[in-house]
């Protein structure tokens, strides 16, 4: 990426005593972008966010925001707004005073502040709630107050640490939409930490997948989903079949006795590899006309609401089975049933090959 990105994280390492929470992390964020940090619990998402905020400054490495090296600056000299999972609303201040907290001492008159607070509350959809105390609001309302408070000082960077995870599913989906809407209308560069992949895929312009303090992949939601860079990402985001296989040459692998075309040039040698395909990418419709087709036994069928999940296998594949997601429609049309035979295909462009660990 270009060296004039809005936010540049370069070789950031963070140690807590003997424990290394971030290892040599580098990342660029463009102006106006919505970036999600995604990863399992304890992978270092919050640590990276707090380093960017200056709340827990990195042990080593550089952070540049808007062309300014902010690596060693305290939070109060950086330019960001932040919302925490707990919202951290001041319980003894009214909603309006919470939102206006950052405006005290800014040289604005009381009337100006009031007007600005009202505008912010309106923006987040809480125009009438200014005189209440935080404890009198629902979780979703509290979350929006925290957002309004963070936006009050008109920061150029918004940091969100799991802002939605304390809410129940329905409210979460609703607020997710609102958040994206607001971010887009303000053109505000935003970084959000989440461990909810659906949230990340839905909201982000780009996703940063972290694991054990390292970046595994950075990419658009579609890239992350369709071309996971490694087995970790493939496994963490969405569903994935992992099947033991062998590399034959740069264009072919074999699973048991079955030979399949697949891009394998990035792997050295010719030994054991892992083939990966998402259950929904296993093709059944007009499989005969697609490369990499073969016949399998339907070993088990499971009803999952909008679709059915079939567990498939075959003597020639060896001791492996894999899952395929089939639509109701298709199952009815092809009369797929437990114990039957089925022709399927693993389209070469959907089949990914990773080194065996």
């Amino acid at each position: 990426m270009s060296s004039d990105s809005y936010l540049q994280v370069k070789n950031v390492t963070k140690e807590f005593g003997d424990f290394t929470a971030l290892r040599d992390v580098s990342l660029d964020v463009e102006k106006g972008e919505f970036v999600c940090f995604l990863g399992p619990s304890g992978c270092g998402k919050t640590t990276l966010l707090r380093a960017i905020a200056g709340l827990d400054i990195q042990t080593m490495g550089t952070i540049i925001q808007d062309g300014r090296d902010i690596s060693d600056l305290p939070p109060s000299e950086r330019d960001f707004g932040i919302v925490f999972q707990s919202y951290a609303l001041f319980p003894n201040l009214t909603v309006a005073n919470n939102v206006g907290f950052g405006l005290i001492g800014s040289g604005k008159s009381r009337a100006q502040i009031n007007a600005q607070v009202q505008a912010l509350l309106k923006q987040v959809g809480l125009p009438e709630q200014g005189n209440k105390y935080p404890s009198q609001l629902s979780g979703g309302q509290q979350q929006r107050v925290a957002l309004a408070r963070a936006l009050a000082t008109e920061p150029n960077l918004l940091l969100l640490d799991e802002p939605l995870s304390a809410l129940d599913a329905k409210v979460r989906v609703h607020l997710r939409g609102q958040l994206k809407e607001l971010q887009r209308s303000l053109g505000l560069t935003t970084i959000m930490v989440t461990h909810d992949q659906e949230e990340a895929l839905n909201l982000a312009d780009r996703i940063v997948v972290l694991s054990q303090g390292r970046i595994e992949q950075v990419g658009t939601p579609i890239e992350i989903y369709a071309q996971p860079a490694n087995a970790f990402v493939a496994d963490f985001v969405g569903e994935m079949n992992f099947i033991d296989a062998r590399k034959i040459d740069n264009g072919h692998i074999s699973i048991g006795e079955i030979r399949l075309a697949a891009e394998a040039a990035h792997l050295n040698g010719s030994d054991r590899v892992i083939a990966a395909i998402r259950p929904e990418d296993v093709q059944v419709q007009s499989a005969e006309a697609t490369p990499n087709n073969f016949d399998v036994d339907v070993r088990h069928i499971e009803f999952c609401g909008a679709y059915l999940r079939a567990t498939l296998g075959d003597r020639r594949l060896g001791d492996v089975s894999f899952r395929a997601d089939l639509s109701m429609n298709l199952v009815r049309r092809l009369q797929v049933h437990q114990g039957g035979r089925l022709t399927i295909a693993m389209p070469p462009e959907r089949l990914r090959v990773y080194p065996a660990n």
Binding site: P74, I82, I104, P155
Partner: protein, 672 residues
């Protein structure tokens, strides 16, 4: 390009040194100031106690010579003072140990007839460091000779010289009258623990685990003793069981002056401390355990031993150590009712005030510090465990109806309440009786303190002033300090030191702290000497003496706040003081007012530390009780003690009203 990348890498490999924010300079400055306050008000004085305990003083008469000048102007051969002493067979360092302030006059060494017709004397200090002699109060210089006219010889004194070692400790342990106090103190403290802890457990059990009546009353009654100085129950006991006491026959010939009186008065003043700990311990029990025990078919008695006692075990241990330390370090009770039964804390007082023997006072202080520090350490470890139990998700215990248990507990609690309130009532009665025991008609004559020593009403108002100053200043500094420890960003060293210093005062007995202050502040060479004898030193001393409990109260409240508040404030570019004044302090207002009350009540009742530090201008009510009792004016002493009680009770009531009403309004945000 490759070179540049390499260079880039070099830079990023460097460790980042975070820069402090602008307001953090102030924050760090404040931390340093509070550390300095505790350093000069606690660490330095304590270090002085240790040093003093190692100082021994001895005379060196061989280092001083004296030559007679005869009427004809000739000088006789100089002789050393040792020679003169040898002549008379006397010794400079005899059985009576020299202390810092001991002096020997030269006229007592040289017999009168030997110096009958001497015109003047030439005294010479032969020592390498000088200072062997005081000539009209001025120390002599090394190797210098001084001509003293005959009439002035009386003004020449020999001064003992200091050396460092364990001599004082050796002396202390060679004096049965001194080290017997250790045994006395331990035995008495153990007896009080054995009485108070089970009693407090039973009392708290009645309040928390039964459906007996009058729980609110019993709770209140048990906390009454914290409102009065420990001297007061001792005075009450004298009226009840003394030579002219109304219940004296009950003692069957035993005297109240001595162990019996000390134990009874100690039970009185330690009871509330143990009871409060037991209430907390019993309030954390989990209903589910009792249900499980019942389901398993355990008897009530077995459940009690298997569930209740283990659940309260940390409370029991903690209460035992707290009571033990309180008894060990209290000197008010043995002072009033101890007779000639010696206790450790009283020894410090006797050595220092009575005999001006500071070195031995320091040794006793060091001896007293050992159990106090051990008890403190145990209490800290145990209370950490207790917190762990509390944080489990427990279902509060619901006591069942059990008429037999309820009435048994009612009897127990009533007995304790009668004991406590009876002693207090006795004091009140004695304070009002015109002339005990002959004229019992009530009157206020004993409240006219002008006829007795002790400072009178002035002392009372001084106490009031001290209490208000200490509680206000103390609550402010302690809260500020705790806020810095808990919330400041960076400056880990400063915060760790402050945390450590904040925990220290609890382990230091009041007597030791008071003595430490004499050593430190009464040294004319100390630039802080000007504080000696002022109200300020009393405020500093008391605020630090009571620091730890206040600090823990503040820390607990601060820890309960969302830990991201400071992060939010920083992101909003608000300095720490705005966060503190608009959010932290208002949210912690209940804790702050609790600290204020704690400081107030204890400043009114404290004796042990301030007894060494008051001056004629800064006499205090609690000290007046002590001094009036000492002078035999027991009725006015009781009256003054009751004044402290009224004041504290009134403040306590006002506090309850304030927390009920005013706080309700200020803290509207707490309610949904």
């Amino acid at each position: 390009m490759a070179v540049l990348a390499q260079h880039d890498l070099q830079i990023t490999r460097r460790r980042v040194q975070p820069k402090p924010a602008r307001d953090e300079v102030w924050q760090r400055g404040l931390i340093v100031v509070i550390i300095a306050y505790l350093f000069f008000g606690l660490v330095m004085p304590l270090a002085m106690v240790f040093t003093k305990s190692l100082q021994t003083y001895a005379f060196y008469p061989e280092q001083v010579t004296i030559a007679f000048q005869m009427p004809d102007g000739s000088h006789a051969e100089p002789r050393s003072l040792q020679d003169w002493l040898d002549d008379s067979g006397a010794e400079a360092n005899d059985g009576l140990r020299a202390s810092e302030r001991t002096r020997i006059q030269i006229v007592r060494i040289i017999p009168k007839n030997a110096r009958a017709d001497v015109e003047s004397f030439r005294v010479t200090d032969l020592s390498a460091d000088g200072g062997q002699l005081l000539i009209d109060g001025v120390p002599s210089e090394a190797g210098q000779s001084y001509d003293v006219p005959r009439a002035q010889l009386g003004k020449v004194q020999v001064r003992p010289q200091v050396s460092y070692g364990l001599g004082n400790y050796g002396y202390y342990f060679s004096q049965p009258s001194l080290f017997n106090s250790i045994l006395n103190s331990f035995i008495i403290a153990m007896i009080v623990v054995v009485i108070v802890v089970p009693l407090a457990f039973g009392y708290a059990y009645g309040i928390m685990r039964t459906r007996m009546r009058g729980k609110a009353f019993f709770r209140l009654a048990a906390t009454v003793p914290v409102l009065v100085p420990s001297l007061l129950p001792a005075i009450g006991l004298i009226y009840l069981f003394g030579n002219q006491g109304i219940l004296t026959p009950l003692l069957m010939g035993q005297s109240i002056y001595g162990p019996i009186g000390i134990v009874m008065a100690s039970v009185f003043f330690t009871f509330p401390h143990a009871m409060i700990i037991m209430i907390v311990a019993l309030s954390t029990s989990d209903q589910r355990l009792y249900e499980a025990s019942e389901v398993l078919g355990a008897s009530k008695w077995r459940t009690f031993w298997v569930v209740t006692i283990p659940g309260a075990r940390y409370g029991l241990i903690s209460a035992a150590f707290v009571v033990f330390t309180l008894v060990l370090t209290d000197f008010g009770v043995p002072k009033v009712v101890g007779g000639d039964f010696n206790m450790l804390a009283l020894d410090i007082y006797k050595q220092v005030i009575g005999q001006q023997n500071f070195q031995v006072g320091a040794v006793v202080s060091m001896v007293l510090l050992v159990p106090a520090v051990v008890a403190f350490a145990v209490d800290r470890i145990v209370s950490r465990r207790q917190v762990a139990i509390m944080s489990a998700k427990a279902v509060p215990f619901q006591p069942e109806h059990n008429p037999r248990l309820d009435s048994a507990m009612l009897i127990l609690c009533s007995v304790v309440a009668v004991f406590i309130l009876g002693i207090l009532a006795m004091c009140q009665f004695a304070a009002l009786a015109r002339f005990w025991p002959y004229n019992l008609t009530p009157g206020l004559s004993h409240y006219d303190f002008s006829k007795v020593d002790g400072g009178g009403w002035g002392a009372y108002f001084n106490s009031l002033k001290l209490a208000v100053l200490v509680s206000t200043i103390g609550a402010a500094i302690v809260f500020l300090g705790a806020n810095m420890v808990e919330k400041a960003r960076g400056f880990q060293i400063g915060r760790t030191i402050l945390q450590f210093l904040s925990m220290m005062p609890m382990a230091i007995p009041g007597m030791v702290l008071g003595l430490a202050y004499i050593f430190f502040f009464n040294d004319p060479a100390n630039p802080l000497h000007f504080l000696y004898g002022t109200m300020a030193i009393l405020v500093i001393n008391t605020s630090i003496h009571l620091w730890t409990v206040s600090h823990l109260t503040a820390s607990t409240a601060l820890k309960q706040m969302d830990k991201e508040f400071e992060a939010v404030a920083m992101s909003l570019k608000q300095p720490f003081w705005r966060m503190l004044s608009r959010v932290s302090a208002p949210v912690c207002l209940p804790a702050i007012s609790e600290i204020w009350l704690y400081y107030f009540v204890n400043a009114m009742t404290t004796v042990s530390a301030v007894v060494f530090l008051y001056s004629p201008q800064t006499q205090l009510a609690s000290i007046a009780v002590l001094n009036m009792d000492d002078a035999g004016d027991i009725a006015p002493a009781a009256a003054m003690g009751m004044m402290i009680f009224y004041t504290n009770a009134l403040v306590r009531i006002l506090y309850s009203l304030a927390t009920g009403r005013l706080m309700g309004r200020l803290q509207a945000w707490r309610h949904r």
